[in-house]
């Protein structure tokens, strides 16, 4: 399979594929972080996660239209407002869903799966009714388009860099929220011992709601970022959900570091295989490998050995 290429070309291949893998990695991390919080920390299976992402994408779409029409001068930087709004919108919807649906189901994780699947159907149809069945295009400011040429073959897409930086910032942010803030401490306390946390004065209901909202909000940001590379349609969210769950489970559900590591492993494997095999087979092989490893090591890549 290497025979067709010269050495310089091979060098470029690995450089470019590495970079393609990094973009895929960022995408995976963005998708999975919100889910890792909700699933890993709360044990809730949110099958509507993809729809929260798409909500973020639609918010971005509305923003871009609004800004383009009313404040064309600000168009270059609208994306940042849009992301903030996407976070707020998805987070607010998340809080609402937690209040009306999820909080009744904490003891029945498999039932959250069914209920949130129902929710995802409703959201999909809602998007379809509001925005139409067709995909919508989000126009991007010019500085986000195009690429930086490194050599005559290697070019680095600007939106790829943007997504990577964004992922980095959000990952750091999540780390601080969960491990360095009071809210994070409370969240972890509730996860580890709900009764005790309640007894020492933590409002467990509020913590649950905030955690869920945070996870959904991050999904919203992810959706917003995806408008740069993917499509925004009512059913686009479904494309991501299985991959995302596999990433989180593969990483070891309770571990954020695991999520990041598994995103990295899966993205690099997939992008490398895509180069040498056909796209379909690369996908099948990647998923098969992940499932195979999970069968051998069900707790995922990273997990604490805990006393029972």
């Amino acid at each position: 399979m290497f025979a067709d290429y010269t050495w310089t070309e091979l060098g470029s291949i690995f450089a470019m594929q590495g970079f393609a893998g990094l973009i895929l990695f960022s995408v995976f991390v963005l998708m999975a972080l919100g889910l890792a919080i909700i699933f890993g920390q709360m044990g809730v299976i949110n099958m509507a996660h993809g729809e929260f992402m798409i909500l973020g994408a639609y918010v971005t779409y509305l923003c871009s239209n609004f800004v383009e029409a009313h404040f064309p001068a600000l168009f270059g930087i609208y994306f940042f407002f849009a992301m903030a709004l996407a976070f707020v919108a998805a987070g607010a919807l998340g809080a609402l869903v937690e209040w009306s649906l999820i909080r009744h189901l904490y003891k029945r994780p498999l039932d959250t799966l069914l209920a949130t699947w129902g929710l995802s159907l409703i959201l999909q149809q809602a998007y379809r009714s509001i925005f139409g069945a067709r995909e919508v295009g989000v126009s991007l400011p010019n500085w986000l388009l195009g690429s930086v040429p490194l050599t005559d073959i290697i070019e680095i897409p600007i939106n790829g860099i943007f997504v990577m930086v964004l992922t980095f910032v959000i990952a750091i942010g999540v780390y601080f929220i969960l491990f360095r803030s009071r809210m994070g401490m409370q969240t972890r306390a509730v996860v580890q011992n709900r009764v005790m946390a309640g007894a020492v004065g933590i409002n467990t209901q509020k913590v649950d709601r905030n955690t869920f909202a945070l996870g959904c909000g991050i999904a919203g940001i992810a959706g917003s970022a995806f408008t740069m590379i993917g499509s925004t349609g009512p059913t686009a969210g479904q494309l991501y959900i299985v991959d995302t769950f596999l990433i989180v489970v593969f990483g070891g559900a309770a571990s954020l570091l695991g999520t990041i590591a598994s995103s990295f492993a899966i993205s690099q494997a997939q992008s490398t295989m895509e180069f040498f095999l056909s796209g379909s087979m690369a996908k099948v092989l990647t998923l098969l490998t992940v499932v195979g490893i999970l069968m051998l090591r069900p707790q995922g890549l990273f997990s604490l050995k805990i006393r029972r």
Binding site: L304, K305, R308
Partner: protein, 251 residues
């Protein structure tokens, strides 16, 4: 290490047993022996590794090092149900019974026959089973409640039911994790009586906090502290041991 020999007369011999969780040694180079027909009680402060020892014996937790021999058979690489079939029974701290089933069905499921998939499918509720279930139910004070759904029993009755479920298996070694926790005073008395009754012809290991209860039943006591044996012997000897007093009172 002072490994004595490979074959012992003990029913259960634990030697150099170690288990560590991410570097933390919950049980550390433990040696412990249980005689035939002995009631052996393990006490110790919280986190001493008492429950972990029971978990290790019954295969729920895998050891890092060391051996557990039951009738000179190595248990450490056997799976849980195989260990049970060897004759080791285990009762958990919280009553673990099948709440959706009746008392009768709970006991019937524990009856040691038809344990394979096919066996369970072709299992017949014959006279043997019925007689044995009634007999055991009588022992654990539940003969009036056979048709009651287990979820509706009181906490103490659930504990008894679980003990009954072990008895019907007729194990040679019975391990009980805090059998009287959460029981009323009268229930404790009844339980002590029950234990004295059922230990005839078998060995029992008990983890317990209630010193009064321990005094009532124990033949031998082992005090665990931080995964290691602090003291061992009769109740009186252990109670007089300054190390034990230090651990219990010094904290």
């Amino acid at each position: 290490m002072n490994t004595i020999n490979n074959n012992t007369d003990f029913l259960l011999s634990i030697e150099n047993l170690t288990v560590s969780f991410d570097g933390f040694k919950a049980v550390d180079d433990l040696n412990l022996y249980v005689d035939e027909n002995e009631i052996h009680v393990i006490i110790g402060p919280n986190g001493a590794g008492k429950t972990t020892v029971l978990d290790l014996i019954c295969g729920r937790t895998r050891s890092t090092d060391g051996s557990i021999k039951f009738r000179n058979k190595e248990l450490t690489d056997m799976r849980e149900h195989e260990i049970v079939r060897e004759g080791v029974g285990r009762k958990f701290q919280n009553p673990s019974i099948y709440e959706d089933l009746t008392v009768f069905e709970n006991l019937e499921l524990s009856f040691p026959r038809g344990r394979s998939v096919w066996g369970a499918l072709t299992f017949q509720r014959d006279q043997d089973v019925k007689t044995r279930v009634h007999e055991i139910a009588g022992m654990v004070f539940l003969d009036e409640l056979l048709d009651k759904q287990a979820a509706l029993l009181s906490h103490g009755q659930k504990q008894w039911l679980e003990i009954g479920m072990l008895l019907i298996q007729d194990p040679e070694l019975l391990m009980l994790d805090e059998p009287v926790a959460g029981m009323s005073v009268s229930e404790r008395k009844q339980t002590a009586k029950l234990l004295n009754e059922i230990t005839k012809g078998r060995s029992v290991m008990v983890v317990e906090h209630d010193m009064k209860f321990v005094e009532d039943i124990a033949h031998r006591v082992t005090v665990l502290h931080q995964g290691k044996i602090l003291s061992e012997g009769s109740m009186a000897k252990v109670q007089a041991d300054p190390k034990v007093i230090d651990v219990y009172l010094g904290h």
